[in-house]
Amino acid sequence: SQTIHQWPATLVQPVGSPLSLECTVEGTSNPNLYWYRQAAGRGLQLLFYSVGIGQISSEVPQNLSASRPQDRQFILSSKKLLLSDSGFYLCAWSLDGQGYREKLFFGSGTQLSVL
């Protein structure tokens, strides 16, 4: 069966510090991978998605970046965090194709607080 691992669960970082969140998927090959952010009182916002190794699409211009160095590994990074980067970060995966692409399987999330 497929599983998704996301860590850390909680992170408190000072403004201006770097960030690296990692997500790995097991039990499937060539998944679509996603990073979402959920701010208090707001819906889930798509940040990045990837359909393959090295292929990254950015949805929101910001100081965050994403990379996919391996088929089932997705990394979210920042060189310098801003207060506005605080939120609940979720990694997700899906299979490709009609009826599967939007059926997302989410990780347990990382609660990021930038102080």
């Binding site: 996603y34 889930l44 979720l90 692409r101 939007e102 059926k103 399987f105």
Partner: protein
């Protein structure tokens, strides 16, 4: 611009008291409408996909329906374990990898 609006923001029910959650959407070429359930501090869990007006899907006490402008999530005889935030999302044919989520309805079922 594609948009999803959910109402009410919060709903408190007594156990066994049936009700409906609403999801209104504006999208250029609906590919699909999706319902997810999210427990506190966790990632959302997929519930249903609806593709065309008139379509219905059921799972235990939940039934999702779709019209050309909105979707309803009907909860019949809810139990306390149904308490969660219910999220609605849409995708369009112009952006099939991008789900637009609503802000959700927080459902609390009192025993």
């Amino acid at each position: 611009e594609d948009q999803v609006t959910q109402s009410p923001e919060a709903l408190r029910l007594q156990e066994g008291e049936s009700s409906s959650l609403n999801c209104s959407y504006t999208v250029s070429g609906l590919r699909g409408l999706f319902w997810y359930r999210q427990d506190p501090g966790k990632g959302p869990e997929f519930l249903f996909t609806l593709y065309s007006a008139g379509e219905e899907k059921e799972k235990e006490r939940l039934k999702a329906t779709l019209t050309k402008k909105e979707s309803f999530l009907h909860i019949t005889a809810p139990k306390p374990e149904d308490s969660a935030t219910y999220l609605c999302a849409v995708s369009s044919w112009g952006a099939t990898n991008k789900l637009i989520f609503g802000t959700g309805t927080l459902l609390a079922v009192q025993p």
